[in-house]
């Protein structure tokens, strides 16, 4: 049996697609775990699940750990796939510790060798890829959102099983939830991303980069400097190793030097373009096309031509 869980429904569909491939190869069953599913259980079947265990417990980490653990005990899954959201990355290692097993975070690739999972993930600051295997079961992995394609099959049939467990009072209480506004950008979903770096002189100049993004129908991204140090843009625009990992068909880096941690987040982009006034900027070794020039000249001209 293979288990898949993500509280983020899109990510759940994506890991179900990956889980389906693995389950078919192992001639095993794929079960989605749906916590507070709000009627989405049926859809999980059309995205690849054979079974859906549905539990209404509340989406709080302590409760999720208990719910998933209560299903691991009787069903003894070989593999547990968890969506690599922040919540997912908290519950996966906790479950792994509870069962005394390993957990591989943010796996970018899977294969099966003699029925065992072999995973790949970025290490050493994103410049290297480690190939790893598990020494014990269940084999627990988290999968980054938007890494794999979801697959819909409207005719799939499956079974929904209502489960309930005796819930203990969670140790952590959620007092207030404040939505990020505007409704958080999902930069992973953009097919074109135009990103701004420290090459911008002031916050207002972001408008320039944003209007290029708009002209191309793309999303606005940025380097860590712009999000974390200058705080010109919120976290959801931050691209890189410690930000969002993206793979658009076109990525344009404007005034971004191209340090390894930034590159780690854009490595799977189809085409990478760079605008930078320093011919020795490392970004020119990491892009397909580059132009050496002042962004304050190049970008307005570019917008003009593209119009």
């Amino acid at each position: 049996m293979i288990f898949a869980f993500s509280e983020d429904i899109e990510t759940a569909f994506e890991i179900l697609a990956k889980g389906r491939e693995i389950a078919d190869a192992l001639k095993s069953e794929l079960a989605a775990i749906s916590i507070e599913g709000h009627g989405k259980e049926e859809i999980c079947i059309t995205y690849g699940a054979d079974k859906v265990y549905s539990i209404d417990s509340g989406l709080q980490a302590d409760l999720i750990v208990d719910c998933i653990s209560s299903l691991i005990n009787p069903y003894k899954p070989e593999i547990l796939l968890i969506g690599g959201t922040r919540l997912g990355k908290e519950v996966a290692p906790r479950i792994a510790q509870k069962f005394g097993v390993g957990c591989a975070s943010d796996c970018i690739d899977f294969s099966l060798v003699r029925g065992e999972l072999i995973v790949k993930r970025f290490v050493l600051g994103g410049r290297f890829i480690a190939t790893q295997r598990f020494l014990r079961k269940p084999q627990i992995v988290t999968v980054p959102p938007r890494r794999f394609e979801k697959k819909l099959d409207k005719d799939r049939k499956g079974e929904i099983i209502k489960s309930s467990i005796e819930l203990v009072e969670p140790k952590v209480q959620i007092l207030v939830i404040k939505k990020k506004t505007p409704e958080a950008l999902r930069i992973e979903e953009a097919s074109i991303i135009v990103s701004a770096g420290r090459g911008l002189k002031k916050k207002e100049d972001l408008k320039l980069v944003e209007s290029l993004a708009k002209a191309l129908g793309g999303a606005l991204g940025c380097s860590r400097s712009v999000a974390a140090d200058l705080k010109w843009l919120p976290e959801e625009h931050w691209v890189g190793l410690s930000g969002h990992k993206v793979k658009p068909k076109l990525y344009i880096a404007i005034g971004i030097s191209g340090q390894v941690q930034h590159i780690a987040g854009i490595r799977d982009s189809k085409t990478i373009l760079a605008i930078n006034n320093d011919p020795n900027a490392p970004i020119f070794k990491a892009c397909d096309y580059g132009i050496v020039g002042d962004l304050y000249e190049v970008v307005p001209k570019l917008i003009e031509i593209l119009k």
């Binding site: 908290e90 510790q97 957990c103 050493l124 410049r127 480690a130 404040k178 976290e235 990478i272 580059g290």
Partner: protein
């Protein structure tokens, strides 16, 4: 308030070279440093002590060098151990060591910047059976309770738990101090304990580590018109 801060010493990642034949990392001779977010955790611990009193113990997977740095930043004592294992192994070692210590609060960085797996804090809390509050951008303490503001993808949450608890912190929470010469000298008087815990079982085996090949075209264009053409064909 007695605080334990878990710290990992890592390689200075920028200095790691690649072996041309095997594509594996060369770590020999590479300098080591305290992982970035662990410094935020230590800074936060020192600030809490400055406000509420108590002690800060740094529990360091690494060498005396890292211990000295942590002591200079304000830790009262340091315990160093070596952990050549995975997250399961490390959390198991830490739980074992912490079992014998007195504490109200444990702080960890949200992740180490070499592995970025976000596992040690949640695993450790699970192993010792205390509440865990992850991705903290603000911490407040009152009357045996801790209130943490945490950032998730689309929302902020204000969460609360009873002490003792474990908190993982993000880079946003503070700006770690750079110790003065006086603090560096003062640190030499503080206690460093070296322990060698037995090697626990690991959950994961690493088969290989190889450098990522960069296979980009690296074409430098001459003017903006060319750039516009490339953009149009690439965005189709």
């Amino acid at each position: 308030m007695d605080i334990i801060v878990c710290i990992k010493q890592i390689y200075d990642l920028g200095q790691i070279k690649v072996d041309t034949a095997s594509k594996s990392p060369i770590t020999e001779g590479v300098a080591r440093k305290i992982s970035d977010f662990d410094k935020n955790a230590l800074e936060e611990a020192v600030r809490i002590r400055e406000k509420h009193g108590g002690t800060v113990s740094a529990l360091i997977g690494g060498t005396k060098e890292a211990a000295k740095e942590a002591l200079a930043m304000g830790a009262d004592e340091a315990v160093i151990y070596s952990a050549d294992t995975d997250s399961l192994g490390t959390a198991t070692i830490l739980a074992e060591i912490i079992h014998k210590m007195k504490y109200d609060l444990i702080l960890c960085g949200e992740a180490s910047i070499d592995e970025f797996s976000f596992q040690i804090g949640p695993r450790l809390a699970q192993a010792i059976g205390i509440p865990v509050l992850t991705y903290a951008r603000k911490i407040e303490l009152n009357d045996g309770e801790i209130v943490v503001e945490r950032g998730l993808e689309n929302r902020y949450e204000l969460t609360k738990a009873e002490l003792p608890a474990l908190v993982t912190v993000t880079k946003e929470i503070n700006e770690p101090r750079i110790p003065t010469l006086l603090q560096i000298l003062g640190a030499s008087k503080k206690k460093i304990t070296e322990i060698s815990p037995p090697k626990p079982e690991a959950g994961i085996e690493t088969l290989s580590i190889t450098a990522i090949e960069m296979n980009r075209k690296e074409i430098i264009l001459k003017d903006t018109e060319e750039l516009a053409k490339v953009i149009l064909s690439a965005s189709k």
